[in-house]
Amino acid sequence: MSTIRASVHGAPASAGPMPKAAHTGAISVRHLNFYYGSHQVLFDNTLEIPGRSVTAIIGPSGCGKSTHIRVYNRIYEMYRGQRCTGEIFLDGENILGSSVDLIELRRRIGMIFQAPAPFPMSVFDNVAYGLRLHYQLPRSELVDRVEDALKGAALWDEVEAKLHHPGTALSGGQQQRLCIARALAVEPEVLLMDEPTSAVDPVGTAKIEELVQRLKERLTVVIVTHNMQQAARISDRTAFFFEGRIVETGETTALFTNPSKKQTEAYITGRFG
């Protein structure tokens, strides 16, 4: 958290948030191990995530799904005693390297949490949060980008009239889409979603799933879910985790219809989990 944002603030204001063409948001995880103190929870995770696709991470509770994606944006570093070894490449760059600008990394990799986490401010300020943090935009452009992000998160029509109401006053599903809009506003290449619909009602869940389908045209989505139907509905590829190891990875349809490992088959047919 000590990295200085000079590289971003130093850029001319007119540069704006424009993703570079070469960035497709492809992720390559190599030999990732993760430890809580001396307790190892991830073992030699190796995973290829193609850019502009939806990858679902499934597995029983406590198998390390969330821990795995919390390494991608290095959010685990907020906590003492958590550490990892291995490499994660985002568009060819090892994001676990010590020279990586954490702040820029977290602009490029957004994260949605299990519980909706709107900040204690208005709907508008929530979405403008990242834009104000990373760029110095004139007011009119800020307003445009907030509108774009809310439209991108399929929330604009519902909140257009209450942009200056507190974000916490929205419904649970709307709050989660507000968080998605907040993440989208800074035009990330990757969106990590940690069981984003587990606290959302069925109607809200359907909206978020539909949204994920549209988002993959612009960015890479990695979604942790304990809901196998959800994984089957929305993902292109699926990785099955068990006890901190990646048991099987593949095209979602193939993995669900014809799993190659006994453990995968047992899990997806509901024999445990």
Partner: protein, 327 residues
Amino acid sequence: MPFGRSKRASMGLPLSKTGVRRGDALFHGAAVAAAALVPVLMAGLFVELAYGSRLSLEKFGFGFLVSAAWNPVTGNYGAASSIYGSLVSTAMALIIAIPLSLFIALFLVELAPPRLARPVSGAIELLAAIPSIIYGMWGLFVLAPFLADHVEPALQAAFGHIPVIRALFAGPPMGIGMLPAGLILALMVLPFTTALMRDVLQLVPPVLKEAAAGMGSTTWEVFRKVMIPYGRRGLIGAGFLGLSRAIGETMAVTFVIGNSHSISASLLASGNTIASTLANEFTEASDPLYLSALIELGLVLLVMTFLFQVAGHLWLSRLGRKTGGGQ
């Protein structure tokens, strides 16, 4: 079995129920009586003070609040210098203590490793337990000479040439006056506001901090833009609690403020507060009007404290309506 059960129901239940009802009524009455004690005491205190100050109220009327005169020989009394001193010393204490408390609380909650946070927390709570007379003696024998020898001359050297601000540091550096009073009060308020703010900040949900950090915020930005807004109601409440403590603090202030009935723009000049005047002069108040004026000072302090509390509540309820979230 069914027989036994119905027997017990028909015989035992009516009896035990009346027992419960009687006990409940007693409990209800006791709770109401205990709760009623508070407003009754408050009203009694107010009436007693108003009655005790009737001589002064009749003689000076509203002028008591705006007159800075305080002359037991001619029998002319005014509260202005004491009110001024109370407000200025309290404001100084809060200006120093509140930002400092916030930073200490942030350090304890977010930055300090547990093996450091615990002893620092303990030390802060210990500060709160020190009797105020000890603060007063420390202020008079340690802080005041230090201020007179080092800090006040330095302040005069630094600001002595700047117009307007110069007036704040005019006069001889004695180490006794508004400045040490404000500093001592800040030190006394600090442990309370820090402990409260620490508790408020600890209630910020981890997911909110992670979400803010996940957007690319630095630790400072997480603190300023998310944790403070989330906890603002509790933080403001902590500030008001500190204010009530500072405005009523008596002993420590009496030691260092100089106890003169005068209003001076200079922070180096002596002054007084309502509480320090009461502590100093009650034993000397020989004639009824003098005593009555002192009691009216007490009434003024009570009303001021009350008004600050009301203002605090209004502020908080307005905040709650406007922005939602937080506690």
